[in-house]
């Protein structure tokens, strides 16, 4: 206990900084999305190699396959979730002003959500109405 107290700076203690009890959660989510992305990325690379130079009809036919559509949605969601977690750490490392840091984090997360929606809606449209 005495050790833990010494590891925190007096300033940090006064400002109430320190463990927000969510560090492990971030770490765990980054790893679970990473594990999920290993097979998804390999699947995607192989699928895309087969689609090189393919016309739109071939792409639509590919997205009509329910398995492809489901894996594509999973890939998009997992990619942007993993990216948001990683970019968060980069932003926290390099942007030191509290306001600028918070603003960048919010914009980054909003963009991730928008790109996920754009991607998922596109997959659903191709799968059902393409």
């Amino acid at each position: 206990m005495a050790m833990t107290r010494q590891m925190r700076s007096p300033l940090g203690r006064v400002l109430g900084l320190g463990s927000a009890k969510e560090g492990v959660e971030h770490w765990w989510r980054q790893r679970t999305t990473a594990l999920l992305l290993v097979p998804l990325v390999l699947w995607f690379v192989i699928a895309v190699i087969g689609l090189v130079g393919a016309d739109r009809a071939a792409l639509i036919a590919w997205m009509h396959n329910p398995m492809s559509a489901v894996l594509m949605i999973l890939l998009i969601v997992a990619t942007f979730y993993h990216a948001a977690l990683g970019l968060q750490v980069v932003i926290e490392d390099y942007i030191h002003g509290e306001v600028a840091k918070l603003a960048t984090l919010l914009v980054m997360r909003l963009l991730c959500i928008l790109f996920v929606l754009r991607g998922v809606l596109a997959v659903l449209k191709l799968a059902f109405a393409g």
């Binding site: 690379v45 090189v52 639509i60 990683g86 980069v90 596109a122």
Partner: protein, 131 residues
């Protein structure tokens, strides 16, 4: 800022000689950022297909142009590197391969695997394109 007690400091990067490990470490972050941008390209591609034939034709033209191919090549290198080095990180998370010799062995394996996967993917992709 005043520091009242001797807390640990990071040594300055400039006083180190170059090491493989430091390069691979910063490359993991750099490729991660690049892949976040690449993910926008992925969504734009599938989005263009959903928008209709005209939008998709434009996207196909862009991806087939020299700047599109350069982006795709960079994306593939970044993807394979981040994938291989990510697996290296996951291995470390289980507590394995953390001694100096293993760290270098897995590091060079990542470099070799990235090169091999990139070459294989582009040979397969270009073969698929010519069909």
């Amino acid at each position: 800022m005043m520091i009242s007690d001797p807390r640990p400091l990071s040594p300055h990067l400039q006083i180190y000689r170059w090491q493989l490990t430091m390069t691979l470490s910063i490359l993991h972050r750099a490729t991660g950022i690049a892949l976040a941008v690449g993910a926008i390209l992925l969504v734009s591609w599938i989005g263009a297909a959903a928008d209709g034939p005209a939008a998709y034709a434009k996207m196909q033209w862009f991806l087939g142009s020299w700047i599109g191919l350069l982006l795709l090549f960079g994306w593939s290198v970044a993807l394979f590197y981040h994938l291989c080095n990510g697996i290296r990180h996951l291995m470390w998370d289980t507590g394995r391969g953390l001694d100096l010799k293993s760290v270098y062995a897995s590091g060079w394996t990542v470099v070799a695997a990235t090169g091999a996967l990139t070459i294989i993917a582009w040979i397969a992709g270009l073969a698929s394109w010519s069909h």
